[in-house]
């Protein structure tokens, strides 16, 4: 077994009260990347500020606040708003209604916006960096919801641990990822305000191509509870891990349950 080490470059951005971790994996120390990395972080910070200004339901000037007050025009004037609104409708239908952007009686896309923003920023700012021969892997982690990608030639892989919902110093297992998105939803997660079935379900992790899919399904899974989620996993060919207080950890891959 050969061991190779890849230097990592890391920065954390504080936006929307969430820590966003940007990590690059490099071929070697590459000091010339420092300036590029600095610019990258300030661009991503600006992107996240834009998202917050547009989508925060707590900001009186945001388009979401405007829409919630009964003005439909953001659907016509903002492509980003229309895209998130459309995604929210699709996500609701695709999850049999368990992901609900109208949970508080009005449109609130908060549960989807973070995943969408991370996807957008990742595709625009991070994925293209893989063209640089010094960079073998790129990743963006917004409070535990993560998108990663690697260069085609490299043997570097992103190793992502799944947090133990009962002990945050422990991990339950780990995924080896290449070009994927992973999201975890739990009962302790804040700001979700979703209606939940009575269930001993503690945590749901979903792995997918895109973070919007992974994140909305993790949220929907928690809303559905263990019994219904097991049906949805089979129906929608989901991949991930769930933790049930009574039954322990369950790992599923493309709809089929691997262990109990």
């Amino acid at each position: 077994m050969k061991t190779t080490s890849y230097p990592l470059k890391t920065a954390v951005i504080d936006k929307m009260t969430i820590p966003f971790t940007v990590r690059l994996a490099l071929n070697d120390e590459a000091p010339e990347l420092s300036q590029l990395f600095k610019e990258l972080i300030s661009e991503i910070t600006a992107d996240l500020t834009d998202v917050d200004e547009t989508f925060s339901p707590f900001k009186s000037t945001s388009l979401v606040t405007q829409f919630r007050a009964g003005d439909g025009s953001p659907l016509l004037t903002s492509t980003a708003f229309a895209e998130v609104f459309s995604l929210a409708q699709i996500a609701r239908q695709e999850t049999d209604g368990y992901f609900d952007p109208f949970f508080d009686g009005n449109y609130n896309p908060t549960g989807l916006v973070k995943g969408w923003a991370i996807n957008q920023i990742f595709d625009q700012r991070l994925r293209p960096l893989l063209a640089d021969p010094a960079i073998v892997g790129v990743s963006l982690n917004g409070g535990g919801d993560i998108v990663v990608a690697i260069d085609e030639q490299t043997d570097f892989r992103w190793q992502v641990g799944i947090e133990d919902p009962f002990d945050d110093t422990m991990i339950l297992g780990q995924y080896e990822l290449r070009n994927q998105a992973i999201a975890t939803s739990g009962i302790s997660r804040r700001g979700e305000h979703i209606k939940r079935m009575r269930s001993s379900l503690q945590q749901v992790t979903i792995v997918s191509d895109t973070l919007v899919f992974a994140d909305t399904w993790a949220t929907a899974g928690m809303a559905a509870g263990t019994e219904m989620l097991l049906k949805l996993i089979a129906k929608y060919q989901l991949t991930g891990v769930l933790v049930d207080a009574r039954r322990g950890q369950l790992h599923f891959s493309e709809g089929s349950v691997q262990s109990w």
Partner: protein
Amino acid sequence: MKKIIGLLLSLTVAISMVIDSYIVFFNGPRHLSTAREKSSPTKTTTSTTQSKAYKNGTFTGKDVSTEWGTVQVRAVIQGGKLTQVDVLKYPDSEDRSRQINSRVLPTYKQEAIKAQSANIQHVSGATVTYRGFKGSLQDALNQAKQSNQQNQQQTGR
């Protein structure tokens, strides 16, 4: 004299009606000019005389390309409230299954261990706030300057 005032009044009303309809017919669609190319969305403003800031109406979004395929939605707003949402264009099942089938399955290793002793670069878990971030697992992982990658032939696909 009364006649003239009456005439002036009705003239004013007529002019304002013309201006109103100008606003409705020309101002309304102008908003949409950028959205027109693909789906020619329509917006009908049904109340223009109320002093209320927000307009009732039907707002048809432009075609949006999403991870599931092309989507178009319509929102109906009445009395300042969102009363109906319709998905006009929905990605067909072929689009969606293509999306699902493009997935490369990740490998998973179930192993309950102290996070600090695992060779990982990220943690997926319930959201922590930035305030609670210092001292969190991810914060600790972020201190690692490099990743020791093992070529795990036995688990690689």
